[in-house]
């Protein structure tokens, strides 16, 4: 190669350097986000990102997550049993699991008996689940009401009849529709205290969005809105060009 030809090549290579640098700087922030979130996603179980939830208000607002305004509450003794979405609470304490259609709740001995449309929950006074009784456990189908009779026994009204459990809630027997039924105090829906309602709504929002979801959205660019994935695509293209231009310049220099 002649000296003149080499002189012509130098500015060309220099301009490539400049472009290479600009591309690198432009893609740097996005690549950093992708790299860091990629590392985190590889260890979601180690860091429990799949079971931890976002509590930060602005992120929850950004995702448009709102607690339901309507909720069903029963006052059982001095405790509120509330169903919000699929979350069940004994006062402020959430009962493990997801539930639907709260029918009623009553205090019984040192427990709380909660009727939902497809079963009965036995709860301790601390909100621990003793047992979730279902159809297969002999619980009458289609529960409509739950109450306590004059003798202190639990009575439920199903879609067809009235039933009563034994002392251990293992067997259920049909209850005659006689005058004794009139002594039953049925659980009725009540209003939740405003402060408790606010606390539960706050808790509900903090149980919806897993950390893993946000990291995934950051990784793909979706977190940044409609343009996010396009920006991340552009960064990916820049990264491809960077690797090609870098390799090309390295080869040119060797020659």
């Amino acid at each position: 190669m002649s000296r003149q030809h080499r002189r012509k090549q130098r500015p060309k290579l220099r301009s490539f350097y400049v472009w290479h640098r600009y591309m690198g700087v432009s893609a740097a922030i996005v690549i950093l986000i992708v790299a860091v979130t990629g590392l985190l996603l590889n260890h979601t179980e180690d860091f429990q990102f799949d079971s931890d939830f976002i509590q930060t208000d602005w992120v929850l607002d950004w995702y448009g997550i709102e607690a339901p305004d309507t909720m069903h509450t029963f006052l059982a003794g001095d405790r509120y049993i509330t169903l919000m979405g699929e979350h069940l609470y004994l006062n402020r304490r959430e009962v493990k699991g997801s539930y639907s259609q709260l029918v009623g709740a009553v205090p019984f001995d040192d427990m709380f008996i909660v009727a939902i449309s497809h079963g009965i929950l036995l709860l301790t006074a601390r909100g621990e689940l003793i047992e979730h009784l279902q159809d297969k456990d002999g619980v009458p189908a289609g529960l409509k009401q739950i109450g306590i009779d004059a003798d202190g026994a639990v009575v439920v009204q199903s879609s067809h009849d009235y039933y009563q459990p034994d002392a251990d809630f293992i067997r259920w027997k049909r209850r005659e529709q006689d005058s004794s039924l009139s002594s039953v105090t049925w659980a009725t829906e009540s209003l939740l205290e405003p402060r408790l309602k606010t606390a539960l709504q706050h808790h509900f929002r903090g149980e919806v969005l897993p950390v893993e979801r946000v990291i995934l959205d950051l990784h793909s660019g979706r977190f940044f809105g409609r343009l996010g994935p396009w920006i991340f695509d552009a960064a990916a293209v820049l990264l491809i060009l960077l690797s090609l231009s870098g390799s090309w310049m390295w080869l040119r220099r060797r020659r």
Partner: protein, 177 residues
């Protein structure tokens, strides 16, 4: 935009989860088959005190309820237990006979992956398993690639059923005078 995405994704995820539920055998049928149609009355064992602590140690977390239902005929006990594989509970039927695992069967599978654990080539490994001195299974169970969490759930439930059965048999032993 994110709100729309979330609103779109949530029902999709819920629907796919519901569609993924596969009932291989109803728990009632499992019990009926186990006891040849003469299902004994159910009873409950409480997970309190020492038992609660051991259960937590075996599972790596608390069992979701404080009492567990079982069906027992002499030295044979049947259990229907649930354990989360990755996201959703797997319902497993177990039969313990005189301290040895006689049968383990997936009754309801709700996860999208790992359903291979229901096959006999996997469940047969548990037959005759018992607890060792450290409350673990007395044998190694070969896993299934792609079903690691379901396999883990199955092993945990096998251990729990054997432990609870041992607790029942402890209660059978009359105290020495």
């Amino acid at each position: 935009m994110l709100r729309k995405l979330f609103i779109f994704l949530l029902p999709t995820l819920v629907c796919s989860a519901l569609l993924a539920e596969a009932v291989y055998q109803e728990p009632e049928d499992f019990l009926s088959e186990t006891f040849a149609g003469k299902v004994p009355e159910p009873a409950v064992i409480w997970l309190s005190g020492e038992r609660k602590a051991v259960t937590k140690q075996l599972l790596g977390h608390r069992y979701p309820s404080l009492r567990v239902r079982y069906w027992r005929d002499q030295q044979r006990s049947a259990w229907i237990l649930e354990e989360i594989g990755k996201d959703l509970p797997i319902t497993i039927g177990l039969v313990v006979n005189d301290g040895l695992l006689e049968q383990i069967k997936v009754l309801v599978f709700r996860e999208s992956r790992g359903w291979e654990i229901r096959h006999s080539f996997f469940t047969d490994q548990f037959k005759g398993a018992q607890l060792d001195q450290s409350n673990g299974l007395d044998r190694d169970i070969d896993g299934i690639s792609g079903a690691t969490l379901s396999v883990r759930a199955m092993k945990k439930m096998a251990t729990l059923a054997l432990f609870l059965d041992a607790e029942l048999r402890k209660e059978d032993v009359a105290p020495t005078p």
